[in-house]
Point group: D2
Chain length 364, copies 4
């Protein structure tokens, strides 16, 4: 449903980069989820441009909850959370208002909305909109944490540099407080170097994000169509710059034999587990109780300062684009917070479909 | 919505491997799509086990349309198409009825449905159900063809062997009639050899499928959530054995600089096109008029004849599984027909959302 | 979603009067609902034309469950139930194939489906389709009964004759086995007389149905939009011939003062109840634990034998219609079974949204 | 979907009476609908408490559009419109915070949300939320007007007084500017007298609203379930205080013979019309091109000043309620604006499903 996602717990997203505000409506939450304001702020900070390697646009990302919260807990009625757009320098975009930025949505938005779209700063297609997604996602992500379902994402590879494996609960705790979501400090330094190198050339880099979910109950997912994988993929492709997703062994599984790929089952008498996790925690679209693991391909930021051949949307003439203003040489380090948010929203929805939304109530 | 997918044109899937019938209901079709019985049969044949490298189970896949067709055209009311299960040798499965097959849905189905699931032959999770998906998909795939929107899938790599590039309309025409969906004959022979090699060892192989869509109109897709990529990925992960999907340059784009990854825009005065297609025909979740390209990772068939460690679901004891019966050493060559079907269903839905379902009427 | 209704438990309807079969797919049911074949047959019998006052068309209404049931219980995967069309005398309809029957869907179906609709016997708009609805509804209606949620409908008024009040559980038990859904035998006789009187003049009558639900848990309904009233009304207007619905005191409440209309609250220490039930068991769209009561207006059967002015759809000329064939002089006595079915489907869906579908499992 | 309604054009509602703001998100609108700020304000004024017969609470209902509008036209991306709550005297509600108001949602909201609901002023169940519905509805109502689809509602009966028939376009134009939606001035005066009479006794009255839609295209509606009647009824029951709805001749049709009830068809050579309109413009759930007519039963305002028996929600003891504060002795005159809004939202959605949303673009 266009800007609404989910079946039992839905998120509806709205806003443009240079309009009055961006926001989201969460519906279907149970009453009684505790709102942790600091937690929401921390998630927004992880998404926010910061440090040397990000755009100098500094939105404070001060959110306001308009509805659905009373005395510090969700009421069970729709929760609308908004973030005002404050630091919008529209002039920076004047020179690109007619020149479509390659591999951006400028041209396709015009195709889709017939020229009525708000093109300033990418409008509804701006990465800024993800702040609303992170804010809404933080509310359910905290609710999941209170049920001991932990979600975290690190940069698996960027600029040819790889992080160490993400596997343990301690890793997730570390990522929850990280500025730059990489476990190995040396790898982090090298990745930053690669990003700055590209930036100095007016260019940009991408990377692969890896997400780990621990504690997810078994038996969750609604085949044939609303499988755990299908729903997660659906949500993840909403995140700008994502061009691929793979679960468990992913594309590498295509080079294995069945006897290598299959996850043998074992039991210790009480719990059934698998010896390997090539399935990424999901079989037949339903969670099997093992960690959920998936990786997403994040393309290099399309806004670069190098000259690019493009087309003037209005005159329909060939042209050359020279971008000015503020643009990230990479968003892969910021995208993790958004992937976490959509993961939380998707899993909360699937859990609510399976057990009823009250399952998520704090303290139950 | 569990077993229903789509917004304007929906498909609802039902059936178990050893129940009376499998089938699908298509709703939201316009009146006036011509039904091409031969075309449907041809699509079912491409999915059907055949030749040396597939299971010897031979279902004739004779479908019956129960509703929604009158005088050879769709009526615009729901079209139910069913396929009876005829050749079901339940005895083959007797010895596995309590032993969960590793990396199958046996265990997770029990988690999800509480032990009430029909476990015979994988029940609702059997690959057999995809025959209903292919039958339903064939109806809209033909309607798209009549609008010059062509869909085709080949095996990009299997067993370390790669096919040549899939790019031209002639390739799609060739694949439409192919038994084994590979463009290069020599590559086809070598892949078959690899599959038979694995089979002779009681093992199985997977592969990567690549799908190409030509003629898709621009401006189709419903961000933020019902993007062209998100909807396709959602549908594709319903296909059993899929563990990953990537669009355009996919995961390889993460190793490019922005200046390499961006698809420069050009115009010839009338049409706007991109010089490269790393975006796979989609920007911001909306089609840009270039070919849609995506690849899916198909895991090796999990049913193998080698002994595997597993768990007895009922006694909850560790056990060893020795499968008998008929099982494919690969399904990658059959899965292409299913990927085509879900691609057709998804694109038809997105087109109907954008232009109204009547857009798909034959001859309009 | 056109031919699909519900959020957590959905029903998808298909079929035409003179096509191969009609049917329905139930999705979202939990595994473990016991299938009571006799119960389904009994519900179908109540809807079936019978006795002196109904059409002589005698469909045996033999249903077949194609999927979703194993060992006598639902599996939790989609349940498809079909009924073959056997006794279809298409010739009877030949003379009306171009003359739109007044107050039927003949003309509007042509507007909607562009002339591709199957017009034989009303096609997808035939009352016959309700047999599939009744069959699907019977499955959940029995599940609700096992949870002590009882649903029943009687003819409140017909032809100027009124039945006595429907209020007690014993009344519901009586209606469950009734041929003609009227509690007072004398009223039943008089209503039949009125119907036959109209029939003898080639005319038809309508009536008001009243539905009572006992045992519905409190706290069920999803405002603002998916209220208990809104969902029930939505479903009920799918039943052909319904032109109105009212809950509790209904339209009569508009003539009361607030002090008369309000249902005062009382408690006996454990349970909270209302002294009156003008609200019909629902406040703010949520059940309050009192009986749900609503009435539906059923119009006289539009198929009558009197001459009627109409239009030839093809030639677009004024014409006179003289119907032949078999047509009920009333359907009000048969419509109760359909109202019961859609009520059961709607309440089961709302319960599943609230508590998860497993709540409906037999024996839990 | 709880607080979201519609298929192609959806409205999502949020807010509580005493929270920061109420609002709505419209999604699926085409780009290019002109925003008429005065028109929106006029619709809000019609819903606003005013004059002698309404509560003295005076919210200015100043709305703010947060997204989805650019240069005075809709962009095609989600439009969020909010209204801040300004004049909220929470103290007035202190004494009722534990005493459930009879026939209000106080008790059922507690059942549904587990005690976490914001109970101040009725919270999410306050009639105040309808202001957001009216604001959102005004945007599409104006778009429909620009397509010559006119919607209007008058008080058909109130306090035993009846208005004259609503039938002509001139009547709709008159109602568009009316403070008190009654066509006959003398009837208006008498109704006001009846309302004030009840008010002077601390009591309240209800009434019947009648809605007329002119200019609706034929062939709109999505049977079996998303019929024009079913969708309208679904939406209308969201409006607080509605207890019934009937289309065309409604409940009165149950007393007619088929020969009286049927709407004979005629043609003037170009257009097909019906001689009577007992069907209320809809057959088989699809519009027939005649005026859409329906009536809704509005119960007397449940907030009255007379003492009422009730229950203390917290202590679960019987109690007596004496309301203070500001409460309307009737809302029937204000509810018309809300019925118009949900009618516009529903018809716009059905039109967008049928023809694609672009059909609603201004000037097309």
């Amino acid at each position: 449903m266009k800007n609404t996602f989910g079946n039992a717990i839905t998120v509806t997203l709205f806003g443009e980069s240079h309009g009055p505000a961006i926001g989201a409506v969460l519906d279907g939450l149970p009453g009684g989820i505790r709102i942790d304001e600091e937690y929401i702020a921390a998630r927004l900070t992880q998404r926010r441009p910061s440090g040397r390697i990000s755009t100098s646009r500094r939105e404070p990302d001060r959110y306001e909850i308009l509805s659905g919260v009373f005395n510090g807990y969700t009421t069970g009625t729709p929760l609308c959370i908004i973030i005002r757009n404050e630091d919008t320098r529209s002039k920076d975009y004047d020179n690109v208002s007619r020149l479509a930025r390659p591999s951006h949505a400028d041209l396709t938005a015009m195709y889709r909305y017939g020229g009525f779209e708000d093109y300033r700063g990418g409008g509804h297609f701006s990465g800024r909109i993800t702040a609303a997604l992170v804010a809404a996602g933080a509310i359910v992500m905290k609710a999941l944490e209170d049920k001991e379902i932990l979600i975290g994402t690190h940069i698996s590879t960027c600029g040819g540099i790889s992080d160490r494996d993400l596997c343990a609960e301690a890793d997730l705790r570390a990522l929850a407080n990280a500025d730059f979501p990489v476990l190995d400090e040396k790898a982090a330094d090298e990745m930053e170097k690669k990003i700055l190198e590209a930036a100095s050339e007016g260019d940009s880099v991408g990377g692969v994000l890896e997400t780990l979910v621990l504690g997810m109950p078994q038996g969750v997912g609604e085949p044939w169509f609303d499988t755990a994988e299908g729903m997660l993929a659906h949500a993840v492709f909403s995140v700008p710059a994502v061009k691929g997703i793979e679960f468990g062994a992913g594309f590498a599984i295509t080079e294995m034999r069945g006897s290598q790929a299959n996850d043998c089952l074992r039991t210790d008498g009480s719990k059934i587990y698998t010896e390997t996790n090539n399935s990424g925690g999901i079989n037949g679209g339903i969670t099997n109780g093992m960690p959920i693991v998936f990786r997403t391909a994040i393309k290099p930021t399309p806004s670069i300062f190098k000259e690019q051949k493009t087309v003037d949307i209005k005159s329909r003439q060939n042209a050359v684009l020279s971008l000015k203003g503020r643009h990230d040489p990479a968003i892969v380090h910021r995208a993790g917070a958004v992937i976490n948010a959509v993961t939380a929203l998707t899993l909360a929805d699937l859990l609510a479909v399976r057990y009823g939304a009250d399952w998520l109530r704090t303290g139950e």
